[in-house]
């Protein structure tokens, strides 16, 4: 798993690559904590994420909690038809973190 981070004045984006699973979720959590900037909406870009397990989905929920506690919004950008998008949808988390194009 690799994570890159972009920030503008109003917005921040986390781009996740590779696999987010039992082995890598710790790295994701700590990278998010390092980069996260208060007061900005978040886009979680998982278009390049090849695999996610429930532990990875829980990490997304942790990030969503952080964003909500800051009274900001979080959105997800996922590849159409991918298993990653399907799992986020099936878990019900798309209601908390809506998909954007």
């Amino acid at each position: 798993m690799e994570l890159s981070y972009n920030k503008t004045e109003l917005h921040q984006e986390f781009i996740v690559y590779g696999k987010l699973d039992q082995e890598s979720y710790g790295k994701f959590d700590s990278s998010v904590k390092t980069h996260y900037t208060k007061g900005l909406d978040v886009t979680l870009n998982v278009q390049n994420l090849e695999y996610i397990s429930s532990v990875g989905l829980r990490s997304f929920i942790m990030l969503a909690k952080l964003v909500r506690s800051d009274k900001k919004n979080i959105y997800i950008k996922a590849k159409e038809g991918s298993m990653v998008k399907q799992l986020i949808y099936l878990s019900g988390f798309a209601k908390l973190m809506p998909f954007i194009d």
């Binding site: 039992q22 397990s53 909690k65 909500r68 908390l96």
Partner: protein, 140 residues
Amino acid sequence: MQSIEKFYPNILQYKLENVLFEVKGLLSNLPSLNDEVLFKIEFILEEFITNSFSHLDLSHNCVDIRIKLHLKEFEIEYEEIGVDDLNFAQILLRGQEKNLNPSLEQPGGLGLNLIQQISKKIEYSYNKNTRTRCFKVQFL
């Protein structure tokens, strides 16, 4: 290779990460399968194995796990030996309720619920004599 079978006696002697690493390594040697099928197999096995380790009673239980993957039948059989029965139907029902009303609290039973949703069929049985839980998943 049309099937894989792995047996881990007394999983207390293993680390979750090592078991997952080994099992995922075996998957990388499978004959060419499409990405969606491989994703499902990896997901199902990771969720079952993680569940086994996270629900272990570290002080008392001696739990064995047996994994069987039958590619021809698109079937995974996952056994936990030396454990109590569980209310499988209730776990799935709770998961479905959470899907309808998701919250930011840490969701329990998420893995099993997602296995059910991405699979064609999932069956659960319990053998009282051997104290074995058996999950049979038809993933395609």
